[in-house]
Symmetry: C3
């Protein structure tokens, strides 16, 4: 089975957000697969995808705090400043965290660990909807 589906995620505040359920609900076909891989791709360069803890929201808070410090705004060596002080840091965070995640499937279920969830990482202060491309492949 091959399947490609776009999923629009409503605009979110800057920060890290759990989207595991939203993505898996958009793909009921996962249940039909004995083995496979789900590829999730974000079509933007100032937001990203990662996998991290699905329980305590303080992990998401701390990730945001960490990356705000390790990727500074208004660094004196930035040339790409026209779209606001959060824009170039957003690009750097996007490359650090990545534009896609691949999640294995077995026995009709995503094989995430017990504590793992998929995050949308919104790096802009005022974002619009974000488009994901979901590609499901398996048998």
């Amino acid at each position: 089975m091959w399947l490609s589906r776009q999923l629009s995620i409503a605009a979110k505040p800057r920060g890290f957000h759990l989207i595991t359920d939203e993505v898996s609900n958009a793909l009921p076909e996962i249940r039909q697969l004995k083995v496979g891989v789900l590829h999730v791709f974000i079509q933007h360069t100032s937001a990203s995808l990662t996998i991290n803890e699905n329980a305590d929201p303080s992990v998401r808070h701390d990730l945001e705090q960490h990356f705000n410090r390790s990727v500074p705004e208004n660094a004196p060596y930035y040339q790409h400043m026209d779209e606001g002080s959060d824009d170039m840091p957003a690009h750097i965070k996007a490359s650090t965290l990545g534009a896609s995640q691949s999640i294995p499937i077995a026995n009709g279920q995503l094989q995430l660990g017990l504590w793992q969830g998929l995050y949308l990482c919104e790096h802009r202060n005022y974002a619009t909807n974000r488009t994901l491309v979901l590609t499901l492949n398996g048998e």
Copy 2:
């Protein structure tokens, strides 16, 4: 061919560890594939997978030293502190390095470069076994 297999990696000390042989030995079916991709996924949020140099162990030492400095312990802005001072840094390192790696296969062999190996990156001080999900797909 589609194949999904769990592989348990015995507990390792904090740091970067080569696991290329352990993973490929768990999948003799790689030899049957003319073309394909091996997806390796770690079901944890405080350990990660990366690809880096397979020869000089000092590369693994220096990676550990670098990430210990770029991701501080006990940062004053952390809220997620209950599981120890190495826990939140472990989550940040896991997202920075990533939960999965995909390695191409051709002519029955992983197409790693001459100097490339797969690493398990253990970010906790006292870890237990780590579970990998190996998904092999090809023809």
Copy 3:
């Protein structure tokens, strides 16, 4: 369809370089796929692949500036120094950015966002050619 092809990218100066066209031109077969995934893998540990902005070259300049600061040369705790002061930082950047990118395909086209491009990130001062393994899978 399964297809594996090596692509040699001519030596580039240290920095971030757009290679979307070079990669897609090497794979005219993309046009035949209704759904699929392109996996691009770099067989080196001191260069990497990422996806970021395809328009303003200042984004590429700033990425280089950022990673040069967040990954120092000649750090006192490095042991891996024999191949020059740019070598260990190159390994760290390679693991931070990643050895591969997977790009979804639908209706015969890579499903990159309007502003997304594939980058080769060259982390060495004096690099040689870089070999990519392109794996195309779809139907």
